[in-house]
């Protein structure tokens, strides 16, 4: 019932991740539909980040299969995942130190450069044109995520927390991904900023990019996501439409049980 024919962009089948004795993910099946904003939720330590790490190649699962855009991707390197069109941000922001915002964002476009070493050394016109085009695109994306031109030449790690998150999103978008995976992009933000980022996510989807996001704020999740997957102790607890999933007593118990 799952598969390319149903229009799923990414599918995980029977994914198991063990850290020593701990089973962080236990036999998870999930599918992210094309064009969706898919929420991955669950209490702290449920295994959400671990799943995202599996989906982006950071962790090779103990068992299980991954199919992305009709292709088996389980055996690839992390950069192979990125090259197929998966881009991500990190729960703990990981921007490159000592790089300016513009340079950091350009790293996201790495796979779109192809000039040879001689072309670079002798300043070939094609190499210059590619660089110019990507710089222009980087400025566009910085504006898109709500950052002014004045921040482009600042060292990224000196920006405010909220701005660093936006730079990370711009960097991920720079590769023109098919799927954008965001690990708690709203964490630590005030209500206004949360709304801004939620709008940003909608705009990203409007450009035809599928989004998978991890989030704890149920209000936002309810209004933003088309589909929810709920994890508890690494196992699938519920999966479906937000209203229906959030009304599920088991889901409510999982959250209430932990909220003490």
């Amino acid at each position: 019932m799952m598969g390319a024919e149903t229009g799923a962009l990414l599918e995980a089948r029977q994914v198991i991740v063990r850290f020593g004795g701990l089973e962080a993910v236990g036999g998870l099946d999930m599918a992210v539909a094309r064009g969706a904003i898919h929420g991955l939720i669950g209490p702290n330590g449920a295994g959400k980040t671990t799943v995202l790490n599996v989906l982006t190649g950071f962790i090779r699962p103990t068992a299980g299969r991954l199919v992305f855009d009709g292709e088996e991707i389980g055996g690839l390197n992390v950069n192979g995942f990125a090259r197929r069109g998966l881009a991500r941000t990190f729960q703990n922001i990981r921007l490159f130190g000592a790089m300016t915002v513009l340079e950091s964002v350009l790293v996201g476009a790495h796979q779109r450069f192809s000039a040879s070493a001689p072309a670079l050394i002798f300043g070939a016109r094609t190499a210059r044109a590619a660089e110019r085009a990507m710089i222009a695109r980087a400025h566009e994306l910085l504006a898109f995520v709500g950052l002014g031109r004045d921040v482009a030449d600042r060292v990224a790690t000196t920006l405010s927390y909220g701005h660093q998150r936006r730079v990370e999103i711009a960097r991920a978008l720079m590769s023109s991904p098919k799927l954008l995976l965001l690990d708690e992009p709203l964490a630590g933000m005030n209500a206004l900023e949360k709304q801004e980022i939620a709008d940003l996510v909608r705009q990203v989807r409007a450009q035809g990019i599928t989004v998978l996001l991890i989030e704890h704020d149920m209000q936002i999740v309810r209004s933003l996501c088309d589909h929810l997957t709920v994890l508890e102790y690494g196992k699938l607890l519920a999966d479906g439409e937000p209203e229906q999933v959030l009304a599920d007593p088991a889901v409510q118990a999982a959250y209430l049980g932990r909220a003490r």
């Binding site: 950071f58 390197n77 950069n79 921007l95 070493a117 210059r128 660089e131 990507m134």
Partner: protein
């Protein structure tokens, strides 16, 4: 059988000494994750202190000083205690401020500490060997086993001491509360801190015990081979580190096992392989490289120790340090930042200054020195690609330089002149062909050596590249047919252009300058593009770089290749400008010196390598006018080491850090602004 037995006995003695030193590396690595390269020097201090305490008088600073003339056990105990204290002091001053710094910082610091200790020892005890005194035990008849194996009583004492020391240490770790605290910190430092283990005290204890073990090994070595010398700790230190890695760094039984294996392999290899004694140093390093390739965690080690810390000396370190020091640098920083912002015009300005200096300087002597500055600046620029931009600590860079120098020397002298009787003037153009050819050869070589290091990170990477560098040096010494061995190659012709000899110091300076323009231009073009951005991304956060689609393994190899190309390219000119090369020109010390120059000037800048080279080489000469330096020339190296340690603590990004390099194509940005 007799021969085998004898080799076995030699191997056991050597193995015992390596094992004791390996314990030092392992203990400290276990609790602070630091490869303290300075243990080789503490080993040497143990030897000198014991020898000195046993003698009735010793020459210190060139004057005869009366000494107590203790018997061996008392002198040994004294030496061990003093060395232990030195180890703790070194940790307190040089390493403790860097506990939370990026991995490269303490690694470079420990290399600097080695240089300081070795230079100081040479200043104090002089450049000659200090003979180990005769004493009672050494005069006893050897013990004969199986009618054929001769073991001196001291050999037995060495082995017994090692066994007792190891057992004592194991008991200490298992039973005493400090030992248990050490083991807990080794398991998980944060957890140890949380349960209230005084981590600083545990680290100090590890340094004290480790240094004591190194001293013990050093004095046993001095006793076995009959001398102490300021550079004696260097090779045994590397071998012991090899042993520690072999056994699995962090594990005490592993260190014992690794030391024993290494001692035996070396002794048996020296005995059985053709021309084995000459190649025995290479054996250990081949073992090291092979092991790191196949099983980086060592025989008994844990794989997670091969992990990359995130961040670099440049990312976010700028605000650290004492206010007064920042104030000193503020002016220069502002100037450099303005220069860097100006970009190309500033570069042309600097070039113009160099040209004017080259035209104005009247003395040949100073022109030669300035040529050296340019050569070392270029070499340091090559090293900077891999260390400064890609963030991979490469201690085998000299090998690429050697490839270039040897290629051109072998072709010009051994093949054409000696082989076919072709006069160098007739083939002057070959030099210009050799420049790119050697660059490509060295780049290929760099990729070859780089490939097995791809799985390795941080400290292990440094150790493996160091192993490669040493292997190349041993090969250069021993492959007589190819390299003329330790005699080196003489009579390399000075550069020549269309029959015009460019041998004069002024011509050579300008030749070097022209090459420097090529090197800096090419490197700058690569760095200021997506390639440089990928390198810096790898340096700052390798995993995140991968996630952005950077094939990090491939880009590391590109960095090796670029660095190798520069090394080979410059090596060609170096040979023609020196007109004589030998394996001594390409020692690990040269590599360390180049590293220090890059760090001094500023990692990851174009200006830094030249600033470092200028300051250091000019200082080397100017200081010679001081009477004190004339008497103790090595103190200059000690000063360089001290400067580096201070820099690592207060300004890890180096002097010229503010000449920050932009990572986008200059032209592309200019258009955009318009």
């Amino acid at each position: 059988m007799d021969y085998f037995g004898q080799l076995l006995a030699n191997g056991l003695v050597l193995g015992a000494i390596y094992a004791l030193t390996a314990v030092a590396f392992t203990l400290v690595y276990g609790v602070v994750r630091l490869v303290n390269f300075a243990f080789g020097e503490l080993f040497m201090l143990g030897a000198f202190l014991t020898t000195s305490l046993m003698l009735p008088e010793v020459r210190l600073f060139g004057t005869v000083v009366p000494m107590p003339g203790f018997p061996l056990p008392i002198a040994a105990l004294g030496a061990i205690v003093i060395t232990g204290v030195i180890g703790v002091v070194v940790d307190r001053i040089a390493y403790r401020p860097l506990r939370n710094a990026p991995r490269l910082a303490p690694l470079i610091t420990s290399i600097a500490v080695s240089v300081v200790l070795q230079s100081l020892a040479q200043t104090i005890w002089g450049a000659e060997e200090l003979r180990f005194p005769q004493f009672y035990l050494a005069t006893l008849e050897p013990v004969v086993l199986f009618d054929s194996i001769y073991l001196s009583v001291m050999d037995l004492v060495v082995m017994a001491t090692a066994v007792v020391a190891m057992l004592g240490l194991s008991l200490f770790i298992a039973r005493s509360s400090l030992g248990r605290a050490m083991r807990a910190s080794a398991e998980d430092q944060t957890a140890a801190m949380l349960v209230g283990i005084p981590v600083n005290r545990v680290v100090a204890a590890a340094f004290a015990i480790g240094s004591g073990f190194a001293a013990l090994a050093g004095l046993l070595y001095a006793q076995t081979y009959g001398f102490a010398h300021s550079s004696m700790g260097f090779l045994p230190g590397l071998k012991a580190l090899t042993a520690a890695v072999l056994g699995g760094i962090g594990s005490v039984p592993g260190a014992a096992l690794g030391g024993l294996i290494l001692g035996l392999v070396e002794a048996l290899g020296a005995g059985y392989l053709p021309n084995g004694t000459a190649w025995k140093d290479a054996i250990s390093f081949v073992l090291l490289v092979g092991l790191l390739y196949m099983r980086p965690q060592g025989l008994l080690g844990r794989p997670e120790l091969n992990s990359a810390g995130r961040g670099s000396l440049l990312g976010g370190a700028s605000a650290a340090g004492a206010g007064w020091l920042q104030a000193i640098f503020a002016r220069g920083d502002a100037l450099l930042a303005r220069g860097a912002a100006a970009g190309t015009p500033a570069a042309f300005g600097l070039l113009a200054v160099a040209v004017i200096v080259g035209l104005m300087v009247p003395s040949d002597y100073w022109l030669r020195i300035l040529t050296m500055v340019v050569i070392y600046g270029m070499l340091a620029s090559g090293l900077n690609v891999i260390v400064g931009f890609a963030g991979l600590l490469d201690l085998g860079f000299v090998a690429f330089w050697a490839v270039g120098s040897y290629l051109t020397s072998i072709l010009f002298v051994l093949v054409l002149k000696d082989g076919y009787g072709v006069a160098p003037q007739e083939v002057w153009w070959l030099l210009y062909l050799n420049l790119p050819l050697a660059g490509l050869l060295a780049a290929g070589f760099a990729v070859l050596l780089g490939t097995p290091t791809l799985k390795l990170r941080g400290d292990y990477l440094a150790i493996m590249t160091l192993g490669f560098g040493e292997i190349v040096r041993v090969v250069a010494i021993n492959w007589m047919d190819l390299t003329n061995g330790p005699m080196g190659i003489r009579g390399i012709p000075a550069p020549n252009l269309f029959g015009i000899a460019l041998g004069s110091p002024r011509a050579q300076f300008f030749f070097a300058l022209a090459l420097a323009v090529v090197v800096v231009f090419a490197v700058a073009r690569l760095v200021r593009s997506y390639v440089g951005r990928a390198w810096v991304a790898i340096r700052e956060d390798e995993e995140a770089a991968e996630a952005m689609g950077v094939p990090t393994a491939r880009y590391k190899l590109y960095a090796y290749a670029t660095s190798g190309f520069v090394g080979g390219f410059v090596g060609v000119f170096y040979a023609h400008s020196q007109q004589y090369i030998s394996p001594l020109n390409f020692s690990l010390f040269e590599n360390i010196l180049l590293l220090m120059l890059v760090v001094l000037g500023g990692l990851g800048t174009f200006l830094g390598p030249f600033v470092g080279a200028l300051i250091w080489i000019v200082f080397l000469q100017l200081a010679l006018d001081l009477p004190f330096v004339q008497a103790y020339p090595e103190t200059r190296f000690a000063l360089l080491g001290v400067v580096l340690i201070v820099l690592m603590v207060f300004r890890p990004q180096g002097l010229a850090a503010s000449a920050r390099v932009g990572l986008t194509m200059p032209g592309a940005r200019a258009k955009e602004a318009a």
